[in-house]
């Protein structure tokens, strides 16, 4: 297994492994592009709703300022913001797992295959830990998916983290197996490299999630009335002012509902 790289050939196509590796890298980067776009879509959703605070419904009911209390729906009245530290704990776990994977890759590149196996196993374990932590976080949020846009956005961000971690876990198990079997060796190591790259992106994704959930909490739009008052469809709601007339931008002589006459 100490033959120089250009002589090892890819079994199924007989091309030099270097060619296959290059192909793999290009494909990986493109895959990451797609994944980035998806993550950006989620972040856009979070920040956009955060900035709009439509109808005062961004914050969980428990954390709302009085003037938006009108929206009582199937929401938990005591739901409030999520704790921030779990996001960073999970980020740390993923980060460590990634570092371990990089170490394993460097090791296999340098020919220490036993160390590589250790690194991969370590990385797997850390990823499992991150997975469990993420699961616990999702299940123990003080709010449900319906408790304000914030709740929905945070839960979906965490769900996408969960998805990333599951994917990485699958890859890591493969890497462990293959390194053990010597399929990933000093000559043929582009797969560990690819997984390391991908995990690096996953770290970035988790980091972005942690950043927005930490720093974009209270909506900057404290006067959501500019987006119009809007009655809830809940039958139990008290008699609300008729919607269309109560815009601040139209004349203040907003009419009471005809039924009051």
């Amino acid at each position: 297994m100490s033959a120089p790289t250009e002589e090892t050939l890819f079994p199924t196509t007989g091309e030099p492994v270097a060619t296959i590796a290059r192909r793999g890298r290009v494909g990986l980067w493109l895959m990451i592009v797609a994944d980035v776009a998806g993550t950006i879509a989620l972040l856009i959703s979070y920040t956009y709703l955060w900035s709009l605070n439509v109808n005062g419904g961004w914050a969980p009911p428990g954390a709302r300022v009085p003037f938006t209390e009108s929206n009582t729906g199937p929401q938990k009245a005591d739901a409030t913001w999520a704790a921030e530290w779990p996001f960073w704990v999970i980020l740390l776990l993923v980060l460590l797992s990634t570092v371990a994977m990089w170490w394993s890759y460097k090791a296999v590149k340098a020919g220490f295959e036993a160390a590589a196996v250790t690194g991969a196993v370590l990385s797997t374990l850390l990823m499992v830990a991150a997975l469990i932590a993420q699961w616990i976080q999702i299940t123990t949020f003080p709010f449900g998916p319906s408790d304000g846009a914030y709740g929905s956005a945070v839960i979906l961000l965490c769900a996408s983290n969960l998805f990333h971690m599951l994917l990485v876990l699958f890859l890591l198990i493969g890497i462990v197996n293959r390194t053990r079997k010597g399929l990933i060796s000093q000559d043929v190591n582009y797969q560990s490299q690819a997984v390391s790259y991908y995990m690096t992106w996953v770290v970035v994704a988790v980091l972005l999630g942690a950043l927005v959930t930490t720093f974009f909490v209270e909506s900057p739009n404290t006067d959501p009335a500019v987006f119009g008052t809007f009655e809830t469809g809940a039958k139990s709601a008290p008699e609300a002012p008729p919607s269309p007339s109560a815009t601040p931008s139209s004349s203040p002589s907003a009419s009471p509902s005809p039924s009051a006459s």
């Binding site: 469809g233 809940a234 039958k235 709601a237 008729p242 005809p258 039924s259």
Partner: protein
Amino acid sequence: MKRFLVTAITVLVGVAIVAGIGVFNSINQEEPAAIVAKQVGTKSTPQGDLPHYELHLDVYPNSSDAVPPPRTTGAIQANLLNGQPFYHPSTSIQVPANSVVTIHFTQYDSGGQIYNPYFAQVHGTMDGTMKWNGKEVSEIKPTEVGHTFTVHQYPESSQPYFFLSVPLPMNAGNAKTDKNGYPVDPQKVSVTFITGEAGTYVWNCEFPCGDMYQEFGGPMQTRGWMAGTFEVVA
């Protein structure tokens, strides 16, 4: 000339398939049989004496042994709409042109807050009022609406503009009910209006009584349940 044979066959088969699907669905989507207003004499109006017609419409909160649900296309749709409110006996309504029409509603459903108080008022009737359990009212509390019967424009400029909206008050949640769960003394509403020239219109309920977002899904968006056609025939 095999090629032309193949062409002919393909075209015929294709047309047959498309036409088959079209016809099948078209028949499948038939509106329920219309209920026609019956003449009960004449009535004197500002426009002079006009023939007077009547028809009866009931609103049920859900189907039961006594009241079968409206015919719905597809088992899944029927399953989804099961237990939803609907107008009975039909949602296709036919009234004569240039005459006085009285519709008697019997409302068995509960209710609550309506989005738009405008539809808690009576619009388009002869003197802007309706008869609710005997007394004349022109509007009811927006928080106590059960359903509305709102006829509105059909996009034909050739026919007269026609708008009729009747709020049907809700039954109290604790009202005494019979074995089918219907109130024993439901809300009785009757409205009288004058129809103009012939025309086709649609009507639907403006009170959120369906399911899903804003309770405007399900029956609210299904002909035969909470929406239908309103035809003024010459």
